[in-house]
Symmetry: C2
Subunit: 188 residues, 2 copies
């Protein structure tokens, strides 16, 4: 259902291997869990992080891709050339609720999230600079709330294709199930 | 407006100084920006992180407190004894939308977020184990979406008391304003 709706890419600017390892991983996990199709890392090439991310997809399902961008402006251009809207999440931008309906008219969206230092071009090449509160907080949280508004909460019920394990919601404790069809998938 | 609604505390379990510095800071920033009243850190005592957090409050306003908990079960007991509901955010829990209306009946809520290893007690002492999707992602994102559902989006328009600086939303670029009344505040 979400699939037919929006094709979302997330471009993470300025990743630094040591400092940003966990934050970028969280951003990837949110991108996947909240329905993005592609996660693109700019900055340091971090093969270990990419590998971990792909392993998560193998274990928990879905088909989000993990990509590396050496030149983020080219990545933006590539997405724009294929009809995408470019959205930059920043505490300086316009309140999400004031622009989300315009954004929802597009079916392909590239969401740019920054690290510590975001180049000025990010503000200029984006069609929308969008804030999730005008307070300093977290690109991880901003991304989650943005995607939640974009998908209008439907991402919470998204099924991820071919998981190895899945979780059954439980009021107390942990219920983890093995997907009985997983083995078969391996031979596709 | 949010103030009259809910008094929310966020309890971060198992903080580790080096590894969790940025993730815990993000969790604090989200707590503040999304309307929590107290942020309680359990695990390593991290005075530098606490100091940074308090400086953020001084700069951007608000009155969220930063506390340290040596014994998190005692913190839970203290909150419960003063009429709080205890909510634990976990990917194994019940979908947020299935329980949020029950949670909203309480006016004081302690939200527990974990790190890598969450003790089993967290599942048992909580009134609700709540999931924001049953997928692995980020306690920072889970906290943001949970508070967004709790406050029903009103946290996006929250004014933080006595900021030194504030941001004026802008479609492009950065507009940062000094609060002209800030100096006066210093002498209160």
């Amino acid at each position: 259902m979400i699939e037919a709706d929006f094709e979302v890419g997330v471009l993470r600017l300025g990743h630094r291997i040591v400092r940003d390892k966990r934050v970028t991983t969280h951003a990837f996990l949110v991108s996947r869990a909240f329905g993005a199709k592609a996660f693109i890392i700019h900055g340091d090439k971090d093969s270990k992080l990419e590998e971990n991310a792909r392993r998560i997809v193998k274990t928990w399902g879905g088909k989000v891709t993990v990509e590396y961008s050496e030149n983020w402006l080219e990545t933006v251009k590539k997405w724009r050339d294929t009809g995408s809207l470019i959205v930059h999440l920043t505490m300086y931008g316009m309140p999400v609720e004031s622009v989300i309906n315009y954004i929802r008219e597009f079916k392909r969206i590239l969401v740019i999230i920054g690290g510590q230092k975001v180049p000025g071009e990010a503000y200029r090449v984006s069609d929308y600079n969008v804030s999730i509160t005008n307070q300093p907080h977290s690109e991880i949280a901003a991304l989650a709330v943005f995607l939640d508004r974009l998908f209008q909460g439907r991402e919470l019920y998204m099924q991820h294709e071919k998981p190895r394990f899945f979780i059954v919601p439980s009021p107390r404790g942990k219920v983890i199930c093995k997907n009985p069809f997983y083995k078969a998938n391996r031979f596709e």
